[in-house]
């Protein structure tokens, strides 16, 4: 019997719940031991713009879902990843990780999703407040999602880093456009496939591969992006993004100072950074005849 010929996987990008190739038609070859592993899309400014549009359109429906519902959908992502573990492990190994480290990374990634899946309905009990103003008003502050986030995931820890960049950012109702690790992009596309199968509405997570130097500034300059979550080693690029983000006062959250592998990354403060505080005043009727002694 002749040897079975393996079917190779085509890696594409993820915009609005679909898997298109970059509109530019450009690609780069990912190689290991001089053999081509994958042809990876070198996305363009137009792809970024399409992704931001889809994220903006998804914001209304995602942020208006109940926190409980978002929580369950995130939990579903973890369930699906648990079922697709081997695929991720193979890809991590293919990209040069040793197998023990790969298993550790996928386990940690799943557990991290579970951890953050618990937060959507607990952020406001922790950070919200009822404010005892001196006048007769009921006054309370809640945190709300910001809108569309531009995310640049770290180069190393291609899976855990990506999960840690995306999940805490979207759990409160934000949507995002994510530029993934340039040299280790394989898991990102597999994660997109998992997300696409996990009841996450189209456009909540968009995943773009390609050159960070080229793409990240487009995210930073885009006028319909509300905040950036960036994990970048390249100081020059980082500074450039901070500078460009001022055009519409995007909040910039520099995640690179946190250690991704460390459990200290798991905290609600990272979630809070991608939220706005809103205070509401409402009068309380004053009844001057009242003499309530009960």
């Amino acid at each position: 019997m002749s040897k079975r010929i393996k079917v190779l996987k085509t890696y594409k990008i993820f915009i609005d719940g679909k898997f298109p190739r970059t509109e530019s038609g450009r690609y780069t070859q990912l190689k290991k031991d001089n053999l081509t592993i994958a042809n990876v899309c070198l996305s363009s400014r137009k792809d970024i713009r399409n992704a931001v549009l889809s994220a903006r359109n998804a914001f209304e429906s995602w942020s208006s879902k109940s926190a409980y519902n978002r929580s369950q959908i995130l939990y579903r992502i973890a369930e699906m990843m648990e079922g697709n573990k081997n695929q991720f492990i193979e890809e991590l190994i293919l990209q040069g990780e040793d197998s023990n480290k790969a298993i550790l990374e996928i386990d940690q990634s799943i557990d991290r999703i579970i951890y953050f899946a618990g937060w959507p309905d607990k952020i406001n009990p922790i950070f919200g407040s009822v404010n005892p103003v001196a006048s007769s008003h009921f006054n309370f502050t809640i945190l709300e999602p910001m809108g569309v986030l531009g995310i640049v995931a770290p180069e190393e820890n291609s899976l855990l880093g990506l999960i840690s960049s995306i999940i805490p950012a979207i759990l409160s109702g934000n949507t995002c456009v994510t530029i993934v690790s340039e040299k280790l992009p394989l898991c990102a596309i597999s994660l997109a496939e998992v997300i696409s199968n996990s009841d996450v509405p189209n456009g909540v997570v968009n995943i773009i591969t390609g050159s960070k130097d080229e793409l990240a500034p487009h995210l930073a300059q885009h006028m319909d992006v509300n905040a950036l979550g960036i994990n970048i080693d390249n100081k020059e690029l980082k500074n450039q993004m901070f500078f460009q983000a001022s055009n519409n006062l995007k909040r910039v959250v520099d995640v690179s100072k946190y250690k991704i592998e460390d459990s200290s990354f798991e905290s609600p403060y990272i979630v809070k950074k991608f939220m706005e505080a809103k205070t509401t005043w409402h009068p309380i009727e004053k009844d001057f005849t009242s003499s309530n002694n009960y």
Binding site: S71, D111, G118, K122, E285, S290, N292
Partner: protein, 489 residues
């Protein structure tokens, strides 16, 4: 003027084609055992009691009766689990077990809903849409807290209490089990839970789920029996905390029993809630809320809006709307998806309700009952309301725990605040007004643990629930629901 408007007369023509939930694929065991140390086991004395379907008085199953040695075994296994594996695993891993329970409840939700309806008599619409989804949601919500407790109680290094004894009522059997077990597990305690005598089956199905979720043996023990079994749990020396939901009378006796011990407690007891309609309220919406407030689950609800206060200027029109709306309520087979009002939970409870209806009439209030055909067998009470009620009437003072509404009137805001607060209870209250500032004024003046403004009987795992005064102490749900299961010293 408004009283001249003619009432709607349905004359029994408010009929729907029956839409009966199928019980074909359902298997209820002939006999249910005690769930101790991860195993189903017979009670040592081999005594059993029947579980009756209150809508046809037929026996559904026989339930094991736990006696002193069984209770002791359950507490010992809970203690061993607390000192063993459960006490050592991380919050992260605890969370995963609790998430599993939530998922399994969701997977089996239809089966659980049908059994809840057969065993307890509540309409399938309610068990399907409220009881079971809320039970799953409770586990899901508290699962998320297990590894986040240090954020709920900063600078306090929260520690579990140990073995908690939990005793729950028959009005929301599975949901109450979830309200009790979920926060106890999230905080790292182990559990001995006793469901109510008349509604044990879904708690035992939950025991099967807990087994399937592979929780370490002894973490949750579910033992069945009557009040005497509950008493044994309360008085067991190795129980660290009692969480009880039930009548104020039993709650007081539990507090007497544990006084002088170091046992902590949560008491979620009776109520006699005021539901207040102001003249500026959206009246149709308010009437819906009143109906839901008192007739939901046959009025077997500790927070039922059993005292209705209507502002005098809208009294006639509200009463007419209320009576009209009552005419369209469907009383009957709880398995019928059209049914609004199911069977009263037990013969004993029906007798209690009937006793209060008789007292109401004898004390001089005017009775109005839905004139409908009731099934021949089973325990049934048509939706009932009393007008011409005064503050001193028994039906306005005492908890009936049935579909009986006492209607009173008021003129001023201060008057209704005084009347509403004139009760030893303080579990909940409802306010209906189009004016937000008035709603918040009432919310701040009413002495009750939950205030519903322009809504009623709303529950959510994120929202604390519990009473003032003789309605109990401690809160269940939300961040506040964690505290009673933790040592924060």
């Amino acid at each position: 003027m408004s009283s001249k408007i003619k009432s709607l007369k349905y004359n029994g023509k408010w009929d729907f084609s029956p839409s009966i939930e199928s019980i074909e694929n359902l298997s209820i065991q002939k006999e249910y055992q005690l769930f101790i140390n991860g195993q189903f086991q017979q009670p040592l004395a081999k005594k059993y009691f029947p579980s009756i379907n209150p809508s046809n008085e037929q026996q559904l199953s026989r339930i094991a009766k736990a006696e002193a040695e069984d209770v002791d075994m359950a507490v010992k296994s809970a203690r061993a689990a607390f000192n063993g594996q459960w006490g050592k695993i991380s919050g992260k891993e605890r969370a995963k077990y609790i998430y599993r329970i939530a998922r399994l409840i969701q997977e089996k939700s239809k089966e659980l809903a049908i059994v809840e309806t057969l065993d307890g008599g509540k309409p399938i619409r309610e068990s399907r849409d409220i009881d079971i989804p809320l039970a799953a949601a409770h586990f899901f919500y508290y699962a998320g807290w297990a590894d986040k407790l240090e954020y709920a109680f900063p600078n306090r290094f929260p520690k579990p209490l140990g073995v908690v004894g939990q005793i729950i009522p028959w009005n929301f059997p599975l949901m109450m089990a979830a309200w009790k077990i979920a926060p106890a597990l999230a905080t790292g305690n182990t559990v001995v839970l006793k469901p109510a005598e008349s509604t044990s089956i879904t708690a035992l199905l939950l025991a099967e789920i807990i087994k399937e979720a592979e929780l370490p043996p002894g973490v949750v023990n579910i033992i069945t029996g009557d009040g005497s079994t509950g008493n044994l749990i309360v008085n067991h020396p190795d129980v660290n905390k009692i969480a009880f939901t039930g009548s104020t009378q039993v709650g007081k006796s539990i507090m007497e029993n544990i006084s002088g011990t170091n046992k902590r407690s949560t008491m979620e007891l009776g109520g006699k809630a005021a539901n207040i309609i102001f003249e500026d309220a959206p009246l149709d919406q308010a009437v819906e809320g009143v109906i839901n407030g008192i007739y939901f689950n046959q009025g077997h609800v500790c927070c039922a809006g059993s005292r209705l206060f209507i502002q005098e200027s809208v009294y006639d029109v509200v009463l007419r709307k209320l009576k009209d709306r009552m005419q369209s309520l469907l009383v009957g087979n709880p398995l019928d998806k059209n049914t609004d009002i199911g069977a009263v939970n037990s013969k004993q409870q029906l007798a209690t309700i009937q006793k209060y209806i008789d007292i109401g009439v004898k004390e001089g209030a005017d009775i109005f009952q839905l004139n409908c055909e009731l099934p021949k067998s089973g325990y049934w009470c048509p939706p009932t309301l009393f007008t011409n009620v005064s503050q001193s009437h028994s039906i306005a003072k005492e908890e009936i725990f049935g579909p009986v509404l006492a209607v009173q009137t008021f003129r001023t805001t201060q008057e209704v605040i005084n009347k509403a607060n004139n009760t030893p209870y303080g579990l909940s209250a409802g306010v209906w007004t189009d004016k937000g500032s008035k709603a918040f004024n009432l919310a701040s003046k009413l002495k009750a643990g939950v205030i519903w403004a322009n809504t009623y009987n709303k529950f959510d795992p994120t929202s604390p629930f519990g009473g003032y005064k003789e309605s109990g102490h401690g809160r269940e749900g939300g961040l506040h629901g964690l505290n009673p299961y933790l040592n924060l010293e």
